[in-house]
């Protein structure tokens, strides 16, 4: 897969990871961004033309200041689809990306083919409050994101040695910028009233969940199923919130079957 830059009409400049051929699939990442290695995207690119744009505030993408609220993010998602010249792509969104993808699908229900939501944020159950990712020490973050926190921490940092002060500083600055951006739609509670708009979602939807998700627990899957007119739920064992990275084969398999 290859990186390229695209410009949206609004004025953001976004980096997109692109590869494969076939029907177009757009993958929207979550608050943690794309990682150094994203093998599940390679897997998807075996069957589809995959586009994975980075939100402003992530990687080389710029225009952070242009997006301030949920509507800005959702319209930006469609601006990206336009800038990529795609027509009715399949859309996949993970975590915060799922929240945005669902919002996009409510705004323009006929502009996408199928929708996959992977451990999406955006719904709040009072009896199962989601842990506050903005009030966590780095190691605590890995604990809630991954089934295997040690392996997860290595994935998050791309194997960088964080006992090295320079590496730590770089990692810290990148993380601060990303989460500052994510906070605009996730802070203090990741609920921008999407649930009252989900009735509009027309696309056939697959809701994928890591069975051991400690950030957004699997109870949430049932709520999504109840709110979306045409959704099915699939839970994957041995995976936490970072399911696509934790079980890339199972993820690709589930998505490929659904999109086939």
């Amino acid at each position: 897969m290859k990186w390229r830059m695209i410009d949206t009409k609004k004025g953001t400049r976004c980096r997109v990871l692109e590869g494969g051929s076939g029907t177009p699939v757009v993958f929207f990442h979550g608050a943690g961004g794309l990682l150094v290695d994203n093998p599940f995207l390679d897997g998807l690119a075996q069957r589809h033309h995959v586009f994975a744009p980075e939100w402003p505030g992530y990687g080389d993408s710029t225009g952070d200041e242009l997006l301030e609220d949920m509507l800005d993010f959702a319209l930006h998602g469609w601006d990206l689809v336009d800038a990529l010249g795609l027509s009715r792509p399949h859309v996949i969104g993970h975590s915060m990306g799922g929240m945005i993808a669902a919002e996009m699908a409510c705004l323009a229900p006929r502009d996408l083919a199928r929708l996959v939501l992977v451990g999406p944020a955006g719904v709040w159950l009072e009896e199962r409050p989601i842990p506050d990712i903005f009030a966590m020490l780095p190691h605590e973050l890995a604990d809630v994101l991954f089934v295997d926190p040690a392996r997860g921490a290595a994935l998050l940092t791309g194997g960088a040695d964080l006992s090295d002060m320079e590496a730590l500083k770089d990692f810290y600055i990148v993380t601060q910028r990303r989460l500052a951006m994510a906070g605009k739609i996730l802070f203090p509670i990741p609920n921008r009233r999407l649930s009252k708009r989900l009735y509009r979602l027309a696309a056939e939807t697959l809701v994928l969940w890591g069975a051991a998700d400690r950030l957004i627990p699997p109870e949430y899957a049932a709520q999504w199923k109840a709110l979306i007119p045409n959704a099915r739920v699939q839970t994957i064992e041995g995976a936490g919130h970072m399911l696509p990275w934790e079980r890339p084969d199972a993820f690709v398999d589930a998505v490929a079957k659904f999109l086939a």
């Binding site: 993380t175 601060q176 500052a180």
Partner: protein, 421 residues
């Protein structure tokens, strides 16, 4: 020099093992540690102290806003200030301040500050902090990356509300009000002196200089550590072509005065250590959510919050360290005078926020320390800035004929009087 007696109002009953048992004194402190019946006594003790400070000759008495915080019992400093407005009549009432990014709509601050200014006869000093991330983001739910933008908008609304003599429409990003019409309006014109408590961000310096507001550096870590920051501020002042009146700047300092240096340790060590060990025990992520600081500031001092070194320092502090590293200024009147002179001149500040009550210090020690300071130290530091003797730009301008409500017995009979013309 102007001296303001400031009370953070810490909760004095945090248990000895607070640090070990709880991760933070702020935001998620177990609220079962608060006992309202004890709180009744605590409030009145602290309020009495502030009133006492006026009688000692302090120029100002001060309070501030913190939420869900073991060292602050003032989620609404305006309530504190309101009681002081009725029980004092000379000192400036310094509310440092209202964290305006958290108020919806911010016109509430324009109104309440105007009420305080009117009730006190024009004695309000109005502080507009961005607010700590603990307060503004975690307790009051504001989005970190938008907090500064919202702050700027709130400031614009308040200042316009005070300045305008006609109702106006305010079409803000965060607040839309069709009819802004501040009522009552402050006595002090064009507005009460405005203080901006800040950390090290260059944006805050410029903000203060754009509007000629006072820049207040509120740190608990003393003047040796504050020096580089204030140096940066004064460089900026010079670069912007502003005069270098020391009254442009204020600094907060913990001060303990006793008859001798040894006596100071004997009287105050326990309470100062309570403050540093327990009251400053803040879970690091609460202090630095992504987006709260600008990217420029993050890059400048990236690791200062990240390492737990700062928290580590607090764990094992000793009195000797507190004194030697000048986190606090403590000792005999002469020791305190010397060190404060060094502090005031070194930082070039015209306003000192003096913290005499610290941690769980009992009332009598607080009064003892304050009194010694007022009698033996303050007079000798008064005239450190002779060139700016008459510079009152950053101080209150009260009504001459203001009332003295504190001199009146509650319920006293009054003679028949018409409204003054």
């Amino acid at each position: 020099m102007k001296f303001t007696w400031f009370n953070l109002m810490p909760w004095p009953y945090l248990p000895d093992d607070f640090r070990e048992r709880h991760r933070s004194v702020w935001v998620d402190i177990p609220n079962t540690l608060y006992d309202p019946r004890k709180g009744h006594h605590v409030y009145h003790t602290y309020l009495d102290q502030l009133e006492y400070a006026e009688t000692l000759g302090f120029d100002g008495i001060g309070c501030n806003e913190h939420h869900q915080n073991g060292y602050g019992l003032m989620p609404s400093p305006n309530l504190i200030a309101a009681t002081l407005a009725r029980r004092t009549s000379r000192a400036a009432i310094c509310v440092i301040g209202n964290s305006i990014a958290g108020y919806n709509p911010p016109i509430r601050v324009a109104e309440e500050f105007a009420m305080l200014d009117v009730m006190s006869g024009g004695r309000l000093v109005a502080g507009f902090p961005v607010g700590t991330s603990m307060d503004t983001n975690f307790c009051y739910g504001q989005i970190p990356a938008l907090t500064r933008d919202k702050y700027r908008e709130a400031h614009e609304m308040i200042m316009k509300a005070w300045a305008s003599d006609e109702p106006f429409a305010f079409d803000g990003k965060y607040n839309q009000l069709r009819w802004v019409n501040c009522w009552p309006k402050p006595i002090q014109k064009p507005h009460p002196p405005i203080y901006i408590p800040g950390g090290g961000s260059i944006e805050t310096w410029d903000f203060c200089l754009d509007y000629d507001y006072n820049y207040s550096y509120l740190s608990f870590f003393g003047y040796l550590r504050g020096k580089s920051l204030l140096d940066g501020y004064w460089e900026r002042v010079a670069k912007r072509g502003k005069d270098d009146s020391p009254y442009r700047a204020a600094f907060a300092q913990i001060i303990c005065v006793a008859d001798s240096d040894a006596e100071a340790e004997r009287l105050y060590a326990e309470h100062c250590l309570y403050f540093f060990n327990r009251c400053l025990h803040v879970f690091p992520p609460f202090a630095d959510p992504p987006g709260y600081r600008t990217m420029a500031t993050v890059k400048y001092g990236a690791l200062s919050q990240l390492t737990r070194a700062r928290q580590k320092i607090l764990e094992n502090l000793t009195w000797k360290q507190l004194v030697d590293e000048r986190f606090i200024i403590a000792g005999s009147p002469e020791t305190v005078r010397q060190q404060l002179e060094e502090c005031i001149k070194g930082l070039r500040i015209g306003h000192l926020f003096c913290l005499f009550h610290n941690g769980n210090m009992p009332d009598w020690k607080t009064r003892h320390s304050s009194k010694l300071f007022a009698e033996k130290v303050m007079p000798r530091l008064r005239d450190l800035w002779p060139d700016y003797k008459h510079d009152e730009r950053w101080w209150i301008h009260p009504m001459d004929d203001r009332l003295r409500p504190e001199e009146q017995r509650p319920g006293a009979e009054k003679k028949h009087e018409e409204w003054p013309r």
